[in-house]
Symmetry: C2
Subunit: 408 residues, 2 copies
Amino acid sequence: MLKINADRLWQSLMEMAKVGATAKGGVRRLALTSEDTAGRALFAAWCREAGLSLSVDRVGNLFARREGREAGAAVASGSHLDTQPEGGRFDGVYGVLAALEVVRTLNDADIVTRKPIEIVVWTNEEGARFTPAMLGSAAFTGVMPLETALGTQDADGVTLSDALATSGYQGERAVPGDRFDAYFEAHIEQGPVLEEAGVPVGVVTGGQAIRWLDVRVTGRAAHAGTTPMQYRKDALFGAADMASELEAIAVDFFPQGLATIGEWHIHNASRNTIAGELMFTVDLRNPSDAAIEEMEAAVRTRFEATAARRGLTIDITQHWVSPSTPFDPACIDAVQEAVSELGYVNQRIVSGAGHDAIHLAKHCPTAMIFIPCVDGLSHNEAEDALPEDVARGADVLLHAMLARAGRA
Amino acid sequence: MLKINADRLWQSLMEMAKVGATAKGGVRRLALTSEDTAGRALFAAWCREAGLSLSVDRVGNLFARREGREAGAAVASGSHLDTQPEGGRFDGVYGVLAALEVVRTLNDADIVTRKPIEIVVWTNEEGARFTPAMLGSAAFTGVMPLETALGTQDADGVTLSDALATSGYQGERAVPGDRFDAYFEAHIEQGPVLEEAGVPVGVVTGGQAIRWLDVRVTGRAAHAGTTPMQYRKDALFGAADMASELEAIAVDFFPQGLATIGEWHIHNASRNTIAGELMFTVDLRNPSDAAIEEMEAAVRTRFEATAARRGLTIDITQHWVSPSTPFDPACIDAVQEAVSELGYVNQRIVSGAGHDAIHLAKHCPTAMIFIPCVDGLSHNEAEDALPEDVARGADVLLHAMLARAGRA
């Protein structure tokens, strides 16, 4: 069975990691900076060597096309080359270079596909320079209006439009873009599930639903030394109870439900003052929209009961709601069949993080392939992946794309 | 039975409240500012009218003396005239003017005491301008060296020494000061106990022990979306458990034990990141040194067990330890006999807040008298007290001091 060239893919990953390399072994290529542009230039050179034609759209998304026997919508794959300020060598770049390796492998084997193939480098996926993250794919898929995307400013007040002009990536291709035949994205998992399970390939079935809540608990600030326990309305002890209840809710929805308190602020905090007002955030995740609705309802019911029992007032507001994103059954099947035929141990997995593929799923049939990353670590200079996993994921991508594009 | 002139005391309190009065009905007289100096000048004028001789020590503590039949150590009483930036009309000033009212009442009744009587205005009790609080009484009692006290700077870099020179309160009297025969201080409770109990007079038996702990909990920061619950080392959920355990410890030591978490900081907090490191403070109080030792031991045992169970590391350090301050039994008895003879409903109470009397207790026989304040509110422009409670507390002070000083 056809396989990609594992050494070539690894060498390309290591070559790309030199562009914006940090002293600690990571990478810094903020979107559309000179480092990111240098990374794109290296990728473009490799694409030209591989006989691909390049084009750029109005938000700087870069496309490299391999024609098929037939005209029409391409089977696309890609990810991003920009990184976090202290990023790693695999997040994003793996998906781009795995797609390039697919093309190189098809070239080596003289395979002509029925449908065209396109590799995509999405602009500003990380959100580390321009906000929000996944900006390029959001504009491409029409999730974000073009003018909004172009007017987005970085911390120095530079607009995306200006950054595109400076970097030479102010392209002509229309935004929103034409529909792909399908979109596949290979990515490191950015979590510990595959590694802990000893599974080298994850067949990603979609993105989970997310709900961000803001919880404000109000009691009564008072002197820690003069106020007997029975007269207190301590917002902190109330919030601590709620945190324990939140963890219990996650257990009720185990293993799919996730719950996190990431921020926690006491108003006018002082060591010897009973907390009168406190705000904390809740991050809920679940692959099922129905289940996350139940999780939020449980949060509200339990938190409000605790507040009432303690004489506290509580205000719970939705900060952000994002429904689940199921991937396309046919694309998931294509990935599943590829990995099964290759004989790689695999499992179904839901994407916990955001990816360009989450936007693409609203635009065309989409699926993803995950490979493990060491210690589940990402957004970190120590981010790492094993060469054999890197190769297996690209093999799966190759066969999924080939099945979808068809041999001519 | 002899009583003070309730109307005169109330009028004096209201007159003093005009000095530095705020729009919201509070008072702003930061230590040794022009407002504080004006308040002292008004008090000094009243003292001269009452035939008292004035002196000032090297940290600006102001003494007004009424001679007795005998020479020697005085029976002293007082408190402070400085306030919080948004302070009230009673905190401190009540103790000073209640002592003045005692002298005025003795004058009216032509009573000569055996021992002299002194009224004291302590410098910078609030700690709102110079740090620490209770600075004047700390220097007077030798708790703080004179040079340290004089070199203390306010937020603008003005030293206490400079502020004394500017305000005209750079006195000659030695610091540390001579031992008083006894010291009594009347004060609003600054908590809800007396008001909730419907008791107008509290016989204060001492100051409670205080322990401030810093607790650092370390888990592992990770992505809220990609990390299954079972792989998490969530410092926040661990700390929430500890908060609940702390509250349970306070219940175990009810009603004497108090426990408060006033500060709580997540390191690099982010809404969608599991807390990797978190610091919170613990404020423990108990009138018994043995009991507070047990409370701290319970905190350490339970917190460490929770950390171990959750795979977290924990570091608990003592930030500050202050032993309990029992007042003098004879002075407490003098207060108790006075209130009993006056027939006022009363109860024993421990001081939850710091007072100049806490320092004085290390220097000479000391006791305090508390009166209720409305809603337990203090350090607030809305601070209030009932005229009848104000009068009763001063009656008790009169008879306690008279018993101690003796009629000539």
